[in-house]
């Protein structure tokens, strides 16, 4: 059993660290078995698999903290790493914000988070699904020029132990199919994109995803140029998910909140978004992808109401133990990122299981209710410009359409938006009833009263 092995490693590491006369010790061990088949120009061009694992060790001596991450699960090397972590702690000045490592609390595993078949998927299986994607896309239209994307299958597991008795673990499987279709007619290119994620590879429907991407692609050739300005805008779930990913990063994380850089800090208990808008972060919601019951410090992941009927508050913030230690009486919400990253969990605490409350409209109804507007199917290269005003900039991509009098009348060139999400999401006339599962968000399409487009690109 992977998780038993990882827990043994974590517990043994803590046991060895405590012998070094540290006050507290924590170990987070992990294994990540990943495989990805990537294709472009309608053929496989990158096909990879890697097995990695390791332990992130944290030791505390009188509030002096030493952290060392090593990608081995071998006891002798871990022993050596503990010695180095202790040396780091000994010469590090005390961290007055540090209160304590987390204390143990009850948690239960999440059923259905792991699928053995997905975790052990063969390269032949992935190649067959990719073949189906490419075949479906090309059969859609003779103007389909190239198909690109990736099909990945992953097994991720981690275990956390600390000297206060925390003993927790998680094991998940992930499958993702991403499809980009490029069409060409009379010297003009069209692009379409579709994606599906699941905890189970058998849920992935290559023909359906390829068909969606191809449909968008062939309808986006010969795009017209639209003058920048404010437009009514219908956003696909993928585009909505991108916006909430950034709001999570710049607003709902305790790190920018404590740095005075989060828009939430300046609008506590105010209704800053449309009252129809509610978003929670809930790892146990079956509609989310990354179903881990505990965080990278072994703390049970709590449900956080990020936006409650348009209102943000102190309860909207996601904490790990260090950021919670800076605020009296604020417990960790269990949002320390698990140790399965190149930095072994050094990222800011973040919501990664965002689920929005659905509305009652369909995308078709949103388009029908739009007099003169834009349908955005995907955003690209979004970045914050002024975080406290939640001003983001970015471009549209892979299918942007002009809506006139309730109908999509044709494709338009990709456009740049630059706008404050506080203003954009203040008035949301329609919210979709169907939620779509992304990597970290499960959200519906929405219709915005206005979005400010500040530029248009060229081909």
């Amino acid at each position: 059993m992977v998780t038993e092995r990882l827990l043994n490693v974590a517990e043994k590491t803590v046991e060895l660290a405590v012998k070094e006369k540290v006050n507290q010790a924590q170990a987070a061990s992990f294994l990540w078995d990943s495989a990805l088949t990537r294709y472009a120009n309608s053929q496989i061009h990158q096909n990879i698999a890697s097995k990695t694992g390791g332990v992130a060790i944290k030791v505390v001596i009188d509030k002096k903290i030493g952290t060392l991450s090593v990608n081995t699960l071998e006891e002798r090397q871990i022993k050596d790493a503990i010695g180095k972590a202790v040396k780091i702690a000994e010469v590090t000045p005390p961290n007055k914000d540090f209160k304590s490592l987390p204390k143990p609390e009850k948690w239960t595993p999440i059923q259905g988070a792991f699928d053995k078949e997905t975790a052990t998927c063969s390269p032949d299986y992935r190649a067959e699904r990719v073949k189906e994607v490419i075949g479906t896309a090309h059969s859609k239209s003779p103007i389909v020029k190239a198909v690109a994307g990736s099909f990945s299958t992953d097994m991720l597991a981690f275990a956390v132990s600390n000297s206060l008795g925390v003993s927790a673990w998680a094991k998940i499987s992930l499958a993702s199919l991403k499809v980009t279709v490029i069409s060409q007619a009379n010297g003009s290119e069209g692009f379409g994109y579709a994606v599906q994620h699941s905890r189970h590879m058998k849920d992935i429907n290559p023909a359906l995803i390829a068909d969606k991407a191809a449909e968008k692609s062939i309808t986006t050739v010969k795009p017209k140029t639209l003058t920048p300005g404010e437009y009514e805008t219908v956003l696909s779930p993928l585009a909505v998910g991108t916006i909430f990913d950034y709001l999570g990063y710049i607003g709902f994380s305790a790190t920018p909140y404590q740095d005075g850089q989060s828009f939430v800090k300046y609008h506590l208990d105010q209704q800053i978004f449309d009252e129809k808008l509610s978003v929670k972060d809930d790892t146990r919601d079956k509609r989310t992808l990354i179903a881990v019951p505990v965080d990278g410090e072994g703390v049970r992941k709590k449900t956080v109401k990020l936006v409650d009927k348009g209102v943000v508050s102190e309860q909207s913030i996601c904490y790990d133990s260090l950021t919670s230690g800076r605020e009296k009486g604020t417990p960790s919400t269990g949002h320390s990122i698990p140790p399965i990253t190149s930095g072994f969990g050094q990222a800011r605490p973040m919501p990664i299981n965002m689920v929005a409350t659905p509305g009652d409209a369909t995308t078709e109804e949103m388009i029908k209710e739009t007099r003169h507007g834009i349908f955005v199917t995907r955003f690209h290269y979004v970045n914050p410009v002024e975080p406290t005003k939640a001003i983001l900039t970015g471009l549209t991509r892979d299918g942007t359409f002009l809506i006139e009098n309730g109908e999509i009348i044709g494709p338009i060139m990709n456009m740049r938006f630059t706008d404050s999400m506080l203003s954009v999401l203040k008035d949301v006339p329609m919210i979709g009833k169907e939620l779509e599962q992304g990597e970290t968000t499960t959200v519906p399409p929405i219709k915005l009263k206005k979005l400010r487009f500040t530029g248009v690109t060229q081909y």
């Binding site: 990805l36 990537r38 472009a40 120009n41 309608s42 053929q43 496989i44 061009h45 990158q46 096909n47 990879i48 698999a49 097995k51 990695t52 390791g54 030493g66 952290t67 060392l68 991450s69 990608n71 081995t72 180095k84 972590a85 010469v91 590090t92 000045p93 914000d97 063969s122 390269p123 992935r126 990719v130 190239a146 690109a148 994307g149 990736s150 990945s152 740095d259 005075g260 850089q261 190149s342 930095g343 072994f344 050094q346 690209h380 290269y381 970045n383 410009v385 002024e386 001003i391 900039t393 471009l395 991509r397 990709n414 740049r416 630059t418 500040t454 530029g455 248009v456 690109t457 081909y459």
Partner: protein, 483 residues
């Protein structure tokens, strides 16, 4: 078992399993990260990574597998896995993979450095950070967050291939920086030194970090962050802009570095980062910029963050022109993509962020070569404009044409002099129009800027790259879109 023997074992196994080509990279990475924030050591971390990756061509298609377990059995098993993956790839190939002729060498490369950053006692480094951060913090009660950073990284790697290469490299880099964030009534302004993204970094020893003199610059960081709160907003409209190196580096990165990656131009990054407006048909024909614009990819420049001896498929470090006197003349390439376009050799840009990752075409040092101006002269010769300094936001489309950048700080230029400070500066443009409007490039303040966080690929990899540049002027650029 010695690493060379492990490598040999992998290559032999690949040949036995039917691979027509194989390479193996075995490596170790040491990554030390120190952060002092608001008076406390927020991050004191050492990351030790090791492992290997085997890349093979079998039945004319690529396969790759990697593992952290450096044992003979694991090398054999992982190599077999790579071949199996290649055979799966071969089911969906249009033609066999072909590479430019081999440049097999046996060699060693070590970053030249005076003082090993990993041998400097931790408390000595922490002491500098604590003192510098305190100076930023104590400048004003309006400084709500202040941070000081240090990072050192070392990669030890062995590359071997079935063409006979055997290359051992030890690449070391380090650096650091400062950040001050001033907050008043919900308004936030930030200043970084010497550049954003936790500072500046160089393939040099601890002497580079010392040369940054964080203590000597800390007061100015706090001062400017606070002053920005009272500054005027960046004016909207069209004006001449002068861009200093700590912003120009990212402009080069995004609008020249990425679009000249040949894998993007050939469509193999279409699903993620996108393609490129610099298509092969435009090579040698498209006017990318004015005749003042000369841009090279140069893995040999001293101290560049993208400087090494050999890339991750054994091609020696070199300099290649991407843009010459404004004309688009070259790509960053690999052995496979170079062959695809009929080039004789790869540009030597294949890099992976760990032994377990597949090498991709990555920037080395993408440098705007010095012009014949002095930075001060460019301002003196500008009647009306804006001086843009230190990147803070960036965005560019999937073909690398429409971009928008924000800088931390700017100053109006009036009648040849730096005038009032302005806040929230942004500018936007279309790549060839923008570089076409470049009419002055400086020489005297030319230096290397290190960007340790360039993302690319699926699964994502983070690479350390460099940009050499000074100050440059661009005519009639749209500014001030935010406000």
């Amino acid at each position: 078992m010695l690493l060379l023997e492990l490598g040999k074992k992998g290559l032999e196994e690949a040949a036995r399993e039917g691979a027509s080509y194989a390479d193996i990279r075995i490596g170790k990475i040491f990554d030390e990260n120190l952060t002092v924030k608001r008076g406390v050591p927020e991050r004191v971390t050492l990351l030790l990574k090791s492992g290997f990756g085997v890349r093979v061509i079998a039945k004319g298609a690529w396969g790759f597998a990697g593992s952290v377990d450096l044992t003979e059995d694991e090398v054999v098993e992982t190599t077999r896995r790579a071949v199996k993956i290649a055979l799966a790839s071969s089911r969906l190939k249009k033609k066999d993979v072909a590479l430019t002729p081999p440049t097999a060498r046996r060699d060693k490369y070590t970053t030249p450095l005076k003082k090993d950053p990993f041998k400097v006692p931790l408390d000595e480094k922490m002491d500098v950070l604590l003192q510098a951060e305190r100076i930023v913090a104590e400048h004003s009660s309006l400084i709500k967050t202040s941070s000081a950073f240090f990072r050192a990284m070392r990669e030890e790697k062995l590359f071997m291939d079935t063409d006979g290469s055997e290359i051992i490299q030890e690449i070391t880099w380090c650096g650091g920086g400062l950040l001050g964030i001033a907050v008043r009534n919900g308004e936030v302004q930030r200043r970084s030194y010497p550049s954003p993204f936790r500072g500046n970094f160089s393939t040099k020893g601890y002497e580079f970090f010392q040369s940054l003199d964080l203590l000597g610059h800390a007061k100015e960081v706090g001062q400017e962050a606070v002053d920005l709160l009272d500054a005027e907003k960046c004016p909207s409209g069209e004006t001449d802009i002068v861009i200093r190196g700590d912003q120009l580096a990212l402009q080069i990165h995004e609008s020249c570095g990425h679009p000249t990656e040949l894998d993007r131009a050939l469509g193999t990054e279409a699903d993620y980062a996108g393609t490129s407006f610099l298509t092969p048909k435009k090579l040698g024909k498209l006017r990318y910029g004015s005749d003042k614009v000369n841009i090279v990819a140069d893995a040999t420049v001293l101290g560049g963050l993208g400087t090494f001896g050999y890339d991750d498929e054994g091609t020696p470090a070199k300099q290649v022109y991407l843009v010459k006197k404004g004309l688009f003349v070259g790509y960053q390439s690999s052995r496979e993509t170079a062959h695809e376009l009929g080039f004789e050799k790869s540009s030597g840009g294949m890099r992976a962020d760990s032994p377990l990752a597949l090498p991709l075409i990555r920037m080395t040092n993408i440098n705007l070569l010095p012009g014949d101006w002095k930075a001060e002269e460019i301002i003196e010769e500008t009647k009306s404009g804006i001086l843009m300094v230190t990147n803070t936001s960036w965005s560019i489309d999937d073909k690398r044409l429409n971009f928008q950048f924000g800088t931390e700080i700017a100053w109006k230029i009036r009648n040849g002099s730096k005038d009032k400070m302005v806040k929230n500066p942004t500018y936007t443009g279309i790549t060839p129009d923008f570089w076409g409007s470049c009419d002055a490039v400086s020489e005297d303040d030319w230096m290397m800027w290190g960007t340790p966080n360039c993302g690319k690929g699926v699964p994502g990899q983070v690479m350390y790259v460099g940009h050499g540049c000074g100050t440059a002027r661009f005519r009639n650029v749209r500014t001030g879109l935010v406000g």
